[in-house]
């Protein structure tokens, strides 16, 4: 019975849970009055916006997706540090060895949230910055360009993140 309701309103439950966790973190306390207020507001928001909060509704709530999320964050932070060390080396190099270019890459991700996370991840990692998106095409500014071939650039820039995001959002 209860699991039935949970299944039918999965999106509302997901948004509600996320908002509650957020609220408790923000307050740093689990006092009853704080929890009650948070529950009321979180319920209102999750019911009112159940179709538009695609961050949660596109997410596939499967064990594989949750595990992919963990791996994604681990990979993301590793790439973030590598990106910074590489760029620091370029900035500190007396000759400033840059080879900028705006290259086109392709993504297989379909959902808006998956694409947003991909574009964000690209922006934060090794010398690449998402500039424009047009359907499956992403235009990426690359400080030290390694190739201007669409497929090679896709393999170098996109694949690393896409393999996790595919599982999470499709």
């Amino acid at each position: 019975m209860i699991s039935d309701i949970l299944e039918r309103h999965r999106q509302i439950v997901g948004v509600f849970a996320a908002l509650m966790i957020f609220w408790v973190l923000l307050n740093g306390t689990v006092a009853p009055d704080v929890l009650a207020l948070g529950a009321v507001v979180a319920l209102l928001i999750s019911v009112a916006f159940k179709d538009t909060l695609s961050f949660f509704s596109d997410f596939r709530f499967t064990p594989a997706a949750v595990w992919a999320t963990v791996l994604y964050f681990a990979y993301f932070f590793k790439e973030l540090v590598v990106a910074n060390l590489k760029l620091s080396a370029v900035v500190l190099h007396p000759a400033l060895p840059i080879k900028p270019g705006l290259v086109k890459v392709r993504t297989n991700l379909k959902t808006p949230m998956g694409r947003l996370l991909l574009a964000n991840s690209i922006t934060l990692t090794p010398g690449t910055l998402s500039v424009e998106m047009d359907g499956q095409w992403l235009y990426v500014h690359w400080v030290v360009m390694e190739t201007d071939d669409v497929d090679e650039a896709t393999a170098k820039i996109v694949r690393g993140f896409e393999r996790f995001l595919e599982v999470m959002y499709g």
Binding site: L25, L87, H141
Partner: protein
């Protein structure tokens, strides 16, 4: 004590990356490359500083984590929008720039229509 030391190291590392970001802003030749160093260095620098602050004041940790999450989501977004607007109004690119697929595709689109 160990936590204090870790916090101090993280704060210094964060400051170092922020400094390198500033240096990059000064040295890079055009808007797009400046946005690049600006985004990456400030993101990692700020995240490290937040982690350092979390080590020194553990009771702030929850809120610092939240600030970090907001930062990781909004920082690349704003950079991307800046870069897109810059490209749309035709901001000059450094002479070293090798290719510009976006301009090529836009030109092709205009020719076809």
């Amino acid at each position: 004590m160990t936590l204090d030391l870790a916090g101090a190291i993280l704060l210094v590392a964060g400051g170092a990356f922020l400094f390198l970001g500033g240096l990059g802003l000064y040295r890079m030749p055009d808007t797009f490359n400046r946005i690049q160093v600006g985004t990456k260095a400030t993101t990692l620098g700020t995240v490290l500083s937040l982690a350092g602050a979390g080590c020194l004041q553990p009771e702030w940790s929850f809120k610092l984590v939240l600030i970090g999450i907001f930062l990781l989501f909004t920082n690349p977004l704003s950079s991307q929008v800046l870069a897109r607007s810059a490209h749309r109004i035709g901001v000059a690119q450094a002479p070293e720039t090798r290719v510009d697929h976006l301009a090529e595709d836009q030109k092709r689109g205009r020719d076809e229509s």
